[in-house]
């Protein structure tokens, strides 16, 4: 295999872009595709399926055997707000395999003491998200209750097609949020993608219980709905 393929694969993985290395195992010839439409027609279906499942494997096509090695970025969770809910959401999400970042410009909230072992960014979301942009393999949960902090992150999450976008607040709070987002030019289809009130309806009462409801909703979006839809559209 040409070393440039290894370099290109590492670059895509570092940039959190999906990539599939396709090897003809008889000849050893290999190439990389990032989406199904760029591939040999006989392989398109297999590539689309591999992007959805994230699973590598051997594929027979046109009398040849190919190995598809699938690299899909690991799921990330960005929590806007270093609040009580985040203190349990962050460690639980980490245990479930998410790469977690908490963003909150309020330094009294975003302290290492309150969030031991979690990546904390004590900055405004508009600044923090410039250095670490969102993507479709990222979930965003906005839980500050403060429009000055939450709204920009929600817009950025919708623009980046994040697989989950959730916002804390009562129906009344969310109605006001919808008004603000519409005024800012966000379309209704995008606004409908916001999970609000946030979290699965399990009757959660305490901050830790709300964190469970939010994490469950994020996992459902990852495994059942939104991410596979996004990838399906990309691969179609």
């Amino acid at each position: 295999m040409d070393r440039r393929l290894i370099f290109a694969l590492n670059e895509a993985r570092g940039a959190r872009r999906p990539a599939i290395l396709i090897t003809d195992i008889a000849s050893g010839d290999a190439h990389i595709v990032n989406e199904a439409e760029c591939a040999d027609p006989s392989l398109r279906e297999a590539i689309a399926a591999a992007l959805l499942s994230g699973k590598s494997g051997l594929v027979e096509a046109a009398d040849k055997t190919y190995f598809l090695n699938v690299h899909v970025p690991p799921a990330r969770l960005v929590v806007i707000g270093a609040v009580h809910i985040s203190q349990t959401l962050a460690p639980m999400a980490r245990l479930a395999g998410f790469d977690v970042t908490i963003i909150d410009p309020r330094t009294a909230f975003a302290t290492a003491e309150r969030f031991e072992g979690t990546r904390l960014v004590a900055d405004w979301p508009e600044d923090a998200l410039r250095t670490q942009p969102l993507d479709m393999f990222t979930a965003v949960a906005a839980v500050t209750h403060d429009p000055k902090i939450d709204d920009h992150a929600l817009q950025a999450a919708l623009t980046a097609n994040c697989f989950y976008v959730g916002a804390l607040g009562s129906r009344k709070t969310h109605a006001r949020r919808i008004d603000r987002l519409r005024e800012a030019g966000v379309g209704d289809a995008a606004i409908d993608r916001i999970a609000a009130p946030i979290g699965l309806d399990i009757g959660a009462a305490s901050p830790a219980e709300i964190a469970v409801a939010v994490l469950a909703e994020i996992i459902a979006a990852l495994r059942k709905r939104t991410l596979t839809q996004n990838l399906g559209e990309m691969a179609a």
Binding site: R3, I6, G57, L58, F67, F98, D99
Partner: protein, 111 residues
Amino acid sequence: MSNGTAIDAGDPLAIAQGWLEAGRQVALATVMETWGSAPRPVGSHLVIDGDGNFEGSVSGGCVEGAVIAEAADVIDSGKPRMLEFGVADETAWQVGLSCGGRIRVYVERID
């Protein structure tokens, strides 16, 4: 699961790149097929250099020695090959032996 944007330091493909950039000869071994209870999933890598140094894994340590030996030949010849490892006795894994799986491992030189 690895960190957001950064690739883990122990990642075999990142190590392969570092070795190539340092001018070392490199072979890459990839798990392409598994049956039964294989310890490492399809797509896992072992990277081997011309001196037999290696990183990563294609099994729980059961077959790495054999793969490294084959990798030396592949580095010399430049010809990729498919290796198959496992137990021949079908009954062995019907009774649930933990390492009773079979795997196919592809070994190729990186040029």
